[in-house]
């Protein structure tokens, strides 16, 4: 198990494990609509509002920018979903993480940690 990112945990503090999927477009969201269960989404600054509709099926969400006060954070809390904002990732190319297993946990002072399990 390896730490690959650290940021702000701004919604549910539950520890969750799931398949990592990198989301970039609204088409990615639609393709995931019926299979979002068990997934941890990785996103950058674009399309965060479009991601909103699948949040309640997701296991977790990780964003490389943003804050706990954004619309995405508000909707994450509505759906009681673990959400890390402004994550500082050790990996530059997020597509490498597609299909891998990740874990989100929250540590002291709302620190959100993303682990890579495989």
């Amino acid at each position: 198990m390896k730490v690959i990112g650290k940021g702000l945990s701004c919604a549910s503090k539950d520890e969750v494990t799931g398949e990592l999927v990198y989301i970039q477009t609204v088409e990615d969201v639609i393709n995931l609509f019926d299979t979002a269960g068990g997934k941890i989404c990785l996103i950058e600054d674009a399309g965060t509002t479009t991601l909103g509709p699948i949040l309640s099926d997701l296991t977790g969400i990780v964003c490389t920018t943003g804050s706990g006060g954004s619309h995405l954070a508000i909707v994450s809390r509505e759906f009681d979903l673990p959400c890390i904002m402004n994550i500082d990732m050790d990996i530059e190319d997020l597509t490498q993480l597609n299909g891998k297993t990740g874990k989100i946990s929250t540590e002291e002072d709302n620190a959100g940690i993303l682990y890579l399990l495989n």
Partner: protein
């Protein structure tokens, strides 16, 4: 003509009674804020009667309603959204509605100057309620100068009810057992003087990161607030003690970009923030204290913790939006 009593399709923010069914969540909350003496940008609400009249009388009325009746799934969303939006944008607003919007537009110009431009913002009937926020699912259009710009943006707001994100949000609510169809949602539109924000902040009167009811959570940045709402930047973060307004924690965010008026037309553009302004907090201590006071005034008056969007221009604090915090676990 008594401009408030005789209007069916428009309600002035400072002369109305809150009515979420008529004005949408955002619009009704703005009327409440004006009533409690908070500074909101002057303006009016194009209420849901306008939307209903538009749906009833527009030249593509039957086609639009037929599309709205479709029982859709996720795979249908993109083409259905595109068809509905296209029909709405091609349709004309009925004369009666147009006339009232024009009267209201001219009155705001008369009272506040002909140089001002307008923010045109969606206010859906299910938005900003205590049950669901619908946060970010319908659109906002900024820096509308002419009456034609405002009318175009009103139609764009109506059309944004049927954006892919909004339609998927409704499908998701259905999965949670909340039955809503496209025909159930109605849209009012808020039209207000555009505030040229030097600083934008969002303030939560309860610390939503850890449900601490004794502290206030603030994010803040330079320029317009869309960079905060849309997760575009890492803002400044301030946690304040609710009892004495002392700063518990202050983290300077990167604030890489800011949103400003598009110098070449309506709308906004993103520009890089100057390096020096990225290193300092966008709010000084006095401003932090002032916005906390505004926040608590709203919370106390509405008797519920609030998520509040604020804008500062020329040292005046404007409240752009307030909605109940829907996720408390206190």
């Amino acid at each position: 003509m008594n401009l408030n009593k005789d209007l069916n399709y428009v309600n002035f923010i400072t002369r109305s009674t809150p009515d979420p069914g008529l004005m949408g969540g955002k619009g009704s909350n703005l009327v409440k804020l004006a009533q409690i003496g908070v500074i909101v940008p002057p303006g009016f609400i194009v209420n849901v009667n306008s939307y209903k009249m538009f749906l009833e009388k527009s030249e593509h009325s039957e086609q639009i309603k037929e599309l709205l009746r479709i029982d859709y799934n996720a795979k249908d969303v993109l083409p259905l959204s595109s068809n509905i939006k296209d029909l709405i944008l091609r349709s004309s607003i009925p004369e009666d509605v147009l006339n009232e919007v024009k009267l209201a537009f001219e009155q705001i110009h008369e009272n506040f100057g002909s140089e001002i431009s307008f923010a045109v913002r969606s206010s859906a009937s299910i938005e900003d309620s205590s049950q669901f926020s619908f946060a970010g699912q319908a659109d906002t259009f900024l820096y509308n100068k002419s009456f034609e710009d405002v009318i175009k943006s009103i139609k764009e707001c109506w059309a944004s009810l049927f954006s892919p994100g909004a339609m998927l949000y409704l499908l998701q609510m259905r999965k949670k057992g909340i039955e809503l169809s496209l025909l159930d949602i109605e849209m009012a539109v808020v039209v207000q003087e555009m505030i040229n924000s030097h600083i934008s902040s969002t303030l939560f009167t309860v610390n939503v990161l850890n449900n601490d009811k004794n502290s206030i959570y603030i994010i803040s940045t330079w320029g317009l607030g869309e960079t905060l709402a849309n997760n575009i930047i890492v803002p400044d973060t301030i946690i304040v003690d609710k009892t004495n307004f002392e700063i518990i924690k202050l983290d300077i965010g990167e604030k890489e970009k800011k949103s400003i008026q598009n110098p070449e037309g309506s709308g906004t553009i993103l520009v890089e923030n100057e390096p020096n302004s990225r290193l300092i907090c966008s709010l000084n201590e006095d401003q932090i204290c002032q916005i906390c006071k505004v926040g608590l005034k709203i919370e106390n008056a509405l008797e519920f913790p609030q998520d509040i969007e604020l804008s500062i221009e020329k040292d005046i604090i404007y409240v752009l939006q307030a909605r109940p915090i829907t996720t408390l676990k206190i």
